[in-house]
């Protein structure tokens, strides 16, 4: 049962101090660990800002050195934030439509069928990355074959083997988005690129740079996170066949099961903010211009909020997790992510009897004081038909 386990390395610091420290490229981060403090900080966008001048600084690890384009609406604060969010929100709610779900279902059925037809499969590259990339074609409303190139980039679009961030790798994505936007400018269609370029914010058309900012966010925000959620789900159900059996027998607990798995996995460990004025959190002084992060992964294991916080309780009814963030900047892709999880779990219950983990390598984030498992670098699994 150990391979699918995601432990909580923050417990001691969360209970004793409420915060942790990590260095990040000589730009230290005070990590906020308690559920209440995390929500309070996320709510307070004036003191803890996203839209500062240094683009990329709120991401941990910082992307200041690899990115100049502001991600939108992510790196814009109210009141400007609302105009942008209102533009993209209806598009990102499309996963609630029946046709969207039908298309997504076909993609997920295909990857599950492929896994069942093979002797064994490496789930990160051959299952989760494919599923995530093909699902993204639906979110962008572009032809399915566009996913082939995205899959060929591999899981490390922003990273090399030896460094956390690699600008030449990141540029592959930024150049690709530039080229796709140019195509949409020349030949507008019904895809997200064209829709953004035709959108107006307060009577002014979005610039190419603004559209690029939304596209980078869409590509980057939904890649590792979805891959980790999918891979961790496979690992969990491989080691807990009774949980898969239960979902088969009690489909009515599907919603609570999805929210609980997302809480337990917390595919995005943390998100940063820049402090705009001298303040304090947990009686710890924070200087203006320093950085904090809201550690979603720690908040989601806060024993003051969640009973049996380190256990997966599939029918957990009240589950105020912050895995999709909280407040103004909560996850734009959450509707898409939830549909992926719902359809994946449904297809697994329909087609898969059991799964066995044959071999795996964990993906451990090094957060100085803390080491957190966020998923797998690779995991070899055998899928057995129902």
């Amino acid at each position: 049962m150990e391979k699918s386990k995601i432990s909580d390395p923050f417990k001691k610091a969360r209970l004793e101090k409420g915060f942790g420290k990590m260095n990040d490229q000589n730009d230290p981060v005070t990590m906020i660990l308690g559920h209440k403090d995390v929500r309070k900080s996320a709510h307070n966008w004036k003191t803890f800002q996203s839209g500062g001048e240094e683009v990329g600084r709120i991401v941990v690890p910082s992307e200041v050195h690899i990115r100049d384009t502001r991600q939108i609406p992510f790196e814009v604060d109210p009141p400007e934030h609302k105009g942008y969010r209102d533009i993209v929100e209806p598009w990102f709610k499309r996963p609630l439509e029946a046709k969207y779900q039908e298309n997504l279902s076909q993609i997920i059925n295909n990857v599950v069928d492929e896994a069942l037809s093979k002797e064994t499969i490496e789930v990160v590259e051959e299952f989760a990355l494919k599923l995530q990339s093909r699902a993204l074609t639906i979110l962008l409303n572009v032809p399915p074959e566009k996913a082939d190139l995205w899959i060929s980039w591999g899981t490390h679009v922003f990273r090399s083997e030896d460094t956390a961030l690699d600008s030449s790798k990141a540029n592959i994505l930024y150049d690709y988005i530039d080229a796709e936007l140019d195509k949409a400018i020349a030949n507008p269609g019904n895809d997200l690129y064209s829709v953004l370029l035709a959108s107006e914010n307060n009577g002014t058309k979005l610039t190419k740079e603004e559209a690029k900012g939304v596209m980078i966010l869409t590509f980057a925000g939904g890649r590792d996170t979805v891959i980790n959620a999918v891979t961790n789900s496979i690992a969990y159900f491989a080691e807990h066949p009774q949980a898969l059996e239960r979902l088969r027998d009690e489909p009515e607990i599907m919603n609570t099961a999805i929210e609980e798995l997302i809480r337990y996995f917390s595919p995005l460990t943390q998100m940063g903010r820049v402090v705009t004025e001298d303040t304090q959190v947990c009686e710890h002084a924070l200087k203006a211009q320093s950085r904090i992060s809201m550690c979603w992964a720690s908040a989601n294991r806060d024993e003051r909020v969640f009973e049996k916080a380190n256990e997966v309780v599939l029918d957990r009814k009240v589950n105020p997790h912050v895995a999709f963030g909280f407040g103004t900047h909560n996850c734009l892709g959450a509707t898409h992510a939830r549909q992926i999880m719902r359809i994946l779990l449904t297809v697994l219950t329909q087609k898969v009897k059991s799964m066995e983990i044959l071999d795996c390598e964990e993906n451990i984030e090094n957060l100085d004081e803390f080491k957190r498992k966020v998923g797998f670098d690779s995991i070899q699994v055998k899928f057995n038909k129902l």
């Binding site: 709510h43 589950n319 105020p320 509707t335 939830r338």
Partner: protein, 102 residues
């Protein structure tokens, strides 16, 4: 069976009927504007925030601690705020009037 009235931000009044599930689910099924129920009813998203008609506060009762914490950071909160996913549809709620917060 309970009849519940929703007053939305555009000023429209919609009366819906239900007997099971949560008030949020009933609202979503009837496409009540401003009730999204993104998290499906586990008290994690606050996209189902309503104001209870003050005269009927005893019908619904006050939110529990976790729901209250969720409401604390929501915009437009009042002393009669509830998350409709945490209210079960039952005969007791018959005649309830809710104003959608968003």
């Amino acid at each position: 069976m309970a009849k519940i009235t929703f007053i939305t931000s555009d000023g429209n009044t919609t009366i819906v009927e239900g007997s099971t599930g949560s008030v949020m689910e009933l609202a979503v099924q009837n496409k009540i504007k401003g009730i999204d129920g993104d998290c499906g009813g586990v008290c994690s998203c606050a996209t189902c925030h309503v104001h209870v008609n003050p005269e009927q506060w005893d019908k619904t009762g006050a939110p529990d601690e976790l729901e209250n914490d969720m409401l604390e950071f929501d915009d437009n909160v009042s002393e009669y705020s509830r998350l409709s996913c945490q209210m079960k549809v039952s005969e007791d709620l018959d005649g309830l009037i809710l104003t959608v917060a968003k």
